[in-house]
Amino acid sequence: MKLFLSSSPHQRVKRDTGQVMRLVIYAMLPAMILQVVVFGWGLVIQATLTVATALLVEGLILTLRQKHVERTLGDYSAVVTALLIAISIPPTLPWWMTIIGTFFAIAIAKQLYGGLGFNMFNPAMIGYVVLLISFPVAMTMWLPPMSMLAEPLGFIDTLMLIFTGYTNSGLDITQVRTVADGVTMATPLDTVKTGLASGQTYHEALLEPIFNGGFAASLGAGWAWLSVAYLLGGLVLLRLKVINWHIPGAMIGSVVVVSGLLHLLDMDHYASPLFHIFNGSLLVGAFFIATDPVSASTTDKGRLVFGAAIGFWLVIIRTFGGYPDAVAFAVIIMNMAVPLIDYYTKPRTYGRDRNPRSTSKR
């Protein structure tokens, strides 16, 4: 028998960055296809726009920084960022807003911080937040599921809406969003938020038409199925060990605990945990956004803290804040806390004291 002697590390990485990123993309694809089926062609056009912009901007900045362009573009991280932006923005957002958001994500939030591995914040979420605070009106113009529209939008109409602001027959986005009975339909989170603000109870708000057709009373039509699709994609990533269970587990767990406590406190004013989990972008966030290996915590204990804190802020901002959804804000807040979390959750080095301070003093 021959024994090999080699220096550490003994555990080798089996996948390179490109393979990991491609796996993330494959896991997102089924849910994205469902999103196209439910919400129309918008996502296809937006994804094309974001991916093209992301690659172009990344290539441009890498050239300016005199780095390897092909090698970095080949790691697909820009594509993942671009796709995350595409799925989080409204499908009929004007094209130039999409480009501004993607430019910001790649140029400012990623490359100016030093590129992949050095970015403090999740680039996709920075791009999304820049758009959300810059264009609050356009960024909340979500279409209801196609099946609820008086006239489903075709590919050409969607394309024209994104690039000119009007469909072929001259309707703008507000008119398109108006469903048959003259009511504009908001997202499930938005509906409940406006309902509660105008004095309705939580259960009265759930009677709005957007909640017909989900698989439970508090789930929005279309949105809930989408969440399930992203959940399945996330479970596949978990199975393939692309991500660890710590962040999504802690995040969903803490959302259940915090929103559950609030719901038990006052059922009329605080939404149930089920509502929080399956509406909005919590499940996408838990499996695809918060698990970003660069901007998330890197220790197992730290990941639990990181995920739990995101879940906590998510419920707090959704319930008491001005915006209906909060994944982006919660993730960015906790991104800032990651160095601190990592510092206090440093795992014990083998053979050293449990208390890291006493070892550093030697």
């Binding site: 004007p94 807003m97 501004i100 400012i108 820049v130 605070i133 810059s134 264009f135 609050p136 009106v137 356009a138």
Partner: protein, 230 residues
């Protein structure tokens, strides 16, 4: 280079109060949503800087070292009050739109910094010139940042020029593009921070290029000084 050239280049470029010393950032970031606001605050700050530098320089031999800081602060506060009353009388709308940031010029560290570092050690003429140049350097940065944010955020340039220059400036504002969905980020505080970061980065790039050109022939790696020596 004689002393005055040196003072000019250090105030405007090498030791620019906003880009290099990073002083007075609070008003800098808060009022630069438009070019005219930036220019107005820059002019007010310049006037205070010149006045306080001259006064501090005049009294520098009579003020005991132990009480110099309170004296400087009172001198600066007096000049700020004068400017505030003047603006209240002659440019009332501008006075309203700059609001709290005019009295806050007192707390602008660039001013007390120059009083302490330069005016209290130099004769009147250089002190006055230093105040002017530091003020000009600060004003240029305020105007650049204001112009960037105004163009990106509201698609105009020189909006409200008549508030500063009177009725002749009614036609000065340019409309670069018209949009019903302005890029709010540029007008909001984060836009000021990001714009400031980009300006500092641009200055460092120019400095590095210039330094690289000068030291190009040698192979030795030299550390490029970004901050000025003074």
């Amino acid at each position: 280079m004689n002393q005055y050239q040196d003072l000019a280049s250090s105030g405007i470029w090498k030791n620019n109060p906003a880009l290099v010393q990073l002083l007075g950032l609070c008003p800098l970031l808060a009022v630069t949503a438009t070019l005219i606001n930036g220019l107005a605050l820059g002019l007010a700050t310049t006037a205070v800087l010149i006045g306080s530098n001259v006064t501090v320089s005049v009294v520098r031999n009579f003020v005991r070292n132990e009480i110099r800081i309170p004296v400087f602060v009172m001198v600066i506060a007096a000049f700020v009050t004068i400017i505030q009353l003047l603006m209240n009388a002659f440019t009332y709308e501008l006075y309203l739109s700059l609001g709290i940031f005019i009295p806050l010029i007192v707390t602008n560290c660039a001013i007390i910094g120059r009083a302490e570092a330069f005016a209290s050690k130099n004769p009147v003429a250089p002190a006055a010139f230093d105040g002017l140049m530091m003020g000009v350097g600060f004003t240029i940065v305020l105007m650049l940042l204001g112009a960037m944010r105004e163009i990106l955020g509201s698609g105009t340039l020189l909006a409200g020029a008549d508030r500063l220059f009177g009725p002749i400036a009614k036609n000065w504002p340019l409309e670069i593009f018209v949009t019903d969905q302005p890029f709010l980020l540029a007008i909001l505080p984060p836009g000021a921070f990001i714009g400031m970061g980009l300006l500092i980065a641009a200055k460092n790039i120019i400095d590095n290029r210039a330094a690289a050109r000068q030291t190009a022939p040698t192979d030795k790696v030299t550390r490029i000084r970004i901050t000025a020596d003074s």
